[in-house]
Subunit: 164 residues, 2 copies
């Protein structure tokens, strides 16, 4: 089985898939009588298309046991989905560009406990891959009466391991 | 000057002002092949009224020096504003019901580092009051070309201390 070594998560490398949510000094404003720095507008949220509404959840994820095998990906075609770690622990992000799934363009990133991600509409991604210990994430996504989640199982020959 | 001792933040006590965002077992669902508990739909977000859009920020707040004096409150009449602590530290929440500000109905809560709050549209509130150390918050609110923030300075005789 092939294996992929995660790369560090950066805004540039993640740009084809969405935004990295982090304290970006280029977006810093001082507010509240000088007692607070606001890092403003860190994700392009799209939550209200086709009768959807914005929703907020907490996910509490258990790390998968090694070896971590990527067998399937999912996407939300009608809205963005943002994850931010609230236990300051690293996690893995597995993505492929929106559109027809191109397995050759799957990327694996290792996020620090200070980085969130916002998946653009249609970005293929693996579910939340906590590392080290059980970890909570604050999640903001689109909620609608009809489910908006497509899943694809990778052909056995194209499933792969993540080397951590 | 009068002083107020904060009360513990609970969903019931906070209900007139919005929602407490926390791992509520009544909202737990198991997802992702049994590896994740989703605490679903924890806040009633209203972000798209009158041409607004959903926005996400990180606030990094410095604790005020004691004594903490409440001198002014603000409100966002057209949208909700959610705060979730991402450094697991407690903070103070000062609120009054939406509508004409009734100083007699101001409440002060102490939130744990595992509790967020979502201010309903129009809820009067003090800005982010970190405790102990500099603390980051993930913030989700309504963004629009026109500012949506009303501020009221309390008359000197009605300003008060928070006893912590």
């Amino acid at each position: 089985m092939d294996s992929i070594v995660p790369e560090a998560l950066t805004a540039e490398a993640f740009a084809p898939f969405g935004e990295v949510i982090e304290c970006d000094v280029g977006r810093a404003q001082t507010i509240n009588a000088g007692t607070c720095v606001k890092f403003a507008d860190l994700a392009r949220l799209e939550l209200d298309r086709d009768g959807g509404r914005a929703a907020m959840h907490i996910y509490r994820a258990i790390p998968l046991q090694a070896p971590i095998v990527v067998r399937r990906l999912e996407r939300h075609a009608l809205g963005t989905q943002a994850f931010f770690p609230i236990d300051n622990r690293p996690y893995l992000v597995v993505v492929a560009p929106a559109g027809l799934l191109d397995i050759g363009r799957i990327k694996v990133f290792r996020a620090t406990g200070n980085q969130g991600v916002n998946y653009r509409q249609g970005t293929w991604h693996h579910f939340c891959l906590a590392l080290e210990q059980e970890s909570r994430f604050l999640v903001v996504d689109r909620c609608s009466p009809e489910a908006d989640c497509d899943e694809i199982e990778l052909p056995a020959a194209q499933q792969f391991l993540i080397k951590i």
